[in-house]
């Protein structure tokens, strides 16, 4: 008995629990479908773009070394292209954070509705 009491004390804060029906209802709701669609329109193109842009580097350096050795400024194409990868990665990260603010807003509506339906719990 004492053990059980102590167990209850150290237990994690109660996680949000709901029936499968509730989860299905949220997943099928217009708000959630909107959130997923908005996420997809940013994340899928962004992911494809960075993978293509990144793998262009080893492919060009590996299979067209002569071309990549062309001198530009004090350096060469290969170095500039490699350096550009850092800035492109930062740019995509920055754009994602901006887009994610919209995701957060959409998610908040869903959260509020779900908590309301539970009666504040």
């Amino acid at each position: 008995m004492a053990d059980a009491a102590r167990n209850a004390e150290v237990a994690q804060p109660q996680q949000y629990q709901a029936s499968q029906l509730t989860w299905d209802k949220i997943a099928d709701s217009k708000e959630f479908q909107d959130l997923m669609a908005t996420k997809k329109t940013f994340i899928v193109p962004a992911f494809i773009f960075f993978v293509v842009y990144y793998f262009a580097l080893p492919v060009l350096v590996g299979y067209a070394p002569q071309f990549m050795s062309i001198k530009v400024w004090y350096v060469n194409l290969a170095y500039l292209f490699a350096l550009s990868q850092f800035f492109v990665a930062w740019l995509i990260a920055g754009l994602y954070v901006r887009a994610a603010n919209i995701f957060d807003r959409l998610a908040k509506d869903i959260l509020n509705k779900a908590e309301d339906a539970k009666g504040g719990k």
Binding site: D3, R6, N7, E9, V10, Q12, P13, Q15, Y16, Q17, A18, Q20, W23, D24, I26, A27, F32, L35, M36, K39, I43, A46, F47, F50, V51, Y54, F55, L57, P58, V59, V61, G62, Y63, P65, M68, S69, Y74, V75, N76, A78, Y79, A82, L83, Q85, F86, A89, W90, I92, A93, G94, Y96, V97, A100, D104, A107, I110, L111, A114
Partner: protein, 533 residues
């Protein structure tokens, strides 16, 4: 008193004080495993960067650039870009749906016991490989850096004991702060070195790149060679070089998002938004650091020269030797102490992710069906397993002291990319995915990457009798697989394993619970909250 030793001791004193401070705040599972989920976004960003910038990057990449020029810089690029996968695909869903480990997310809608057992095995494999590489490096380096004042074995035992103390007493909170301090030291040391390199060239990029275009050294036969180090192809030569480069890129892009010691960090912050911001912080730091490897690596090649480095400790000593050449012995001591701090912090990070996985996934959830038999058992088991992990790491590092272990880091990334990532992605995104698929994906990815590395040129090769010690290949025979990095084959195999396993079995319950995981991971509904100290 010896200056490097003094600086080492100062760092150790500071970290032990942090551990003492953290030990009073590490009661309870959420506090011990996840620092009560109260780490701030920028703090976690620095800690993620710290966990990632191991000695392999600080000393290793500087060395590769110093000897093989531009091709070494390609490593730097991949190590940063890989974080886009973490940011866009993994960090937020993981924080939203999990508790302490990646297996929490996998087990959500699948049968927990087989999935957690396999995930724990793969986590322990990645951590162990990574750790052996770090420990063997630590022994060699500390010996060199302290100028022969300690032996290899003493260095390894010292590092092992310190890491046990951090993890056993300080938990995730101490490990995080040790990591933050080390990352700040590493960034400032690298920045100072870069400024000094440019000062050497009178802050003229024209002079700097002119020097890089004619690095002079002696080749293996003793002839004088003058090479343009900005030219690609010094390391990755045809016929298989380009393919190896692509394979390495795949392992980095998909492996980083599957590294257990990086993933556990996202559980230390209050919510998914903070996890997102911490990835961005980490990307700023990691990117700046890897851009500066230009100055470290090429600086060592031009100012110190490959000939001198080769006779004064080898490739890994490039950055410390550069510091010595530019600003004398005190700066050498400072850079050496940073290298030491880096190793210590990374092994501590690896240990805590391994022990978390063992106690939370394996002990509590696989063996005891998800129930703690008495309160605090999970944390106690983690503390005991930290002793075991530490002892095993020390023993292996001593046994493998003369073996060539550099490939172990590549192997860790390959396993993370081929076993962990496919399964995490599918459990979040594929409704049909099920238990057999997860177990098959993990098993195939794990076996394929280990198997292919064993028959790759990293392990197999024929050396003349004059080659001894760490430079000698472990298996003296012609390599069966031509690439050093197995990613290009093992990653697709991991995905195929997961897909086939799923399609060949039926498990309606995993599909029923998909909506729950989908909603939880995308909205943060019911995500674990921060707890009070």
């Amino acid at each position: 008193m010896n200056i490097p030793l003094t600086m080492f001791l100062v760092f150790i004193a500071i970290t032990l004080f942090i551990t003492y401070w953290a030990s009073k705040r590490s009661a309870g599972a959420s506090a011990y495993f996840a620092a009560s989920r109260q780490i701030k976004g920028w703090q976690n960003g620095i800690a993620v960067a710290g966990d990632y910038m191991s000695a392999a990057s600080f000393l290793g990449i500087a060395g590769i650039i110093a000897f093989q020029g531009y091709d070494g810089f390609l490593f730097s690029v991949g190590w940063l870009v890989a974080y886009l996968t973490v940011l866009l695909v993994i960090a937020e869903p993981l924080r939203n749906a999990g508790k302490y480990t990646m297996a929490d997310v996998l087990a959500y809608r699948l049968k927990p016991r087989p999935v957690r057992a396999m995930a724990s095995l793969s986590t322990l494999t990645v951590s162990t490989f990574y750790m052996i590489a770090q420990m063997v490096g630590a022994g060699t380096l500390v010996k060199l850096l302290l100028g022969g004042m300690v032996t290899y074995n003493q260095a390894v035992i010292g590092v092992g004991l310190l890491m046990i103390v951090y993890v056993v007493f300080g938990g995730m909170l101490a490990t995080t702060w040790v990591q933050i301090i080390k990352a700040i030291l590493l960034m400032s040391g690298t920045f100072l070195l870069s400024i000094l390199v440019m000062a050497h060239f009178h802050f003229s990029f024209a002079q700097f790149f002119a020097a890089i275009s004619q690095v002079t050294y002696h080749d293996a036969k003793g002839a004088v060679v003058v090479k343009d180090f900005l030219q690609p192809g010094l390391r990755y030569k045809p016929p298989y070089g380009p393919l190896d480069l692509i394979s390495l890129g795949l392992a980095l892009i998909f492996g980083t998002a599957g590294l257990p010691h990086i993933l556990v960090r996202f559980y230390t912050v209050p919510d998914a938004k903070t996890a997102r911001h911490s990835v961005v912080w980490a990307m700023v730091l990691i990117g700046s650091f890897y851009i500066m490897t230009t100055f470290l690596g090429f600086g060592a090649a031009t100012i110190v020269g490959p000939d001198f480095i080769k006779t004064h400790g080898g490739t890994n000593m490039s950055a410390p030797l550069l510091a010595n050449a530019l600003a004398g012995s005190i700066f050498f001591a400072f850079i050496s102490a940073i290298a030491f701090a880096t190793i210590l912090a990374v092994v501590a990070g690896l240990t805590i992710s391994a022990t978390t996985s063992f106690s939370h996934d394996f002990w509590t959830n696989v063996i005891h069906n998800g129930v703690e038999r008495k309160p605090g058992e999970e944390v106690m088991v983690a503390r005991i397993s930290a002793f075991v992990v530490g002892a095993v790491a020390i023993a292996l590092a001593i046994v493998l002291q003369t073996a060539n272990v550099a490939f172990l880091v590549a192997l860790a990334f390959a396993v993370a990319a081929s076993a962990n990532l496919p399964v995490i992605v599918m459990s979040i995104f594929w409704r049909r995915f099920n238990t057999v698929g997860a177990v098959a994906g993990l098993a195939v990815g794990l076996l394929a990457s280990i198997g292919l590395i064993l028959v790759s040129p990293s392990v197999m090769g024929i050396d003349p009798p004059s080659v001894t010690g760490a430079a000698r290949h472990i298996i003296q025979a012609k390599a069966w697989f031509p690439l050093e990095n197995p990613g290009i084959l093992s990653i697709p195999l991991g995905f195929i394993g997961a897909i086939l396993g799923t399609l060949l079995s039926r498990e309606p319950s995993s599909q029923d619970k998909f909506n729950e995981l989908l909603v939880r991971s995308n909205t943060g509904l019911g995500a674990e909250k921060a707890t009070a100290h």
